[in-house]
Symmetry: C2
Subunit: 109 residues, 2 copies
Amino acid sequence: MLQTPEAPWTENETQCAHTLLKKAYEREVKNLLADIQDQASQITQVDELWKLHDFLSAKRHEIDGKYDNRESVIVFVFAQLLKEGLVNADELGFLAGEKRAKIKALARL
Amino acid sequence: MLQTPEAPWTENETQCAHTLLKKAYEREVKNLLADIQDQASQITQVDELWKLHDFLSAKRHEIDGKYDNRESVIVFVFAQLLKEGLVNADELGFLAGEKRAKIKALARL
């Protein structure tokens, strides 16, 4: 059976997607900040400080590349965010059904 | 006037220098840890978190290269530590007078 081509993104879908992406980014950095503050407050040895630095380096790099809003990749980005709990399925309600289904399927992989 | 060549390092000078270097390193990382914990506790924005990361990257790099205990460079290392208040002049009492004088002169540069 031939796969149905995905419907093009409407302007509303694109705008809502960008807004949700921004919201997820803000959630992620808020969580990261709380985590760093918690970790930092518990450090007593310099080795742990370097570990915190390594952790923050990796997180910064990850976040820098993660919130890619190009139409060609955005379903993969949302799938990852759904998997990580940074967006929830209800928040994807602005998307046409087949896009939502694709994101949910990808998030289960 | 020809410069008097520096007296060779005695075994005692070398051992005491290594011990003092270690002590200064411990002071520096202790101060750094307190500073990072203080900075981290005050962060409210992600930009400040990335600034903290940059600061920690620079400090780690600086500290990695700083505590060089080779005889050829150790007077420069002590001069820098004296300048920064990480060792004090009294702690250099184990060194022969001309070495101490050289370190103090370099620290004033």
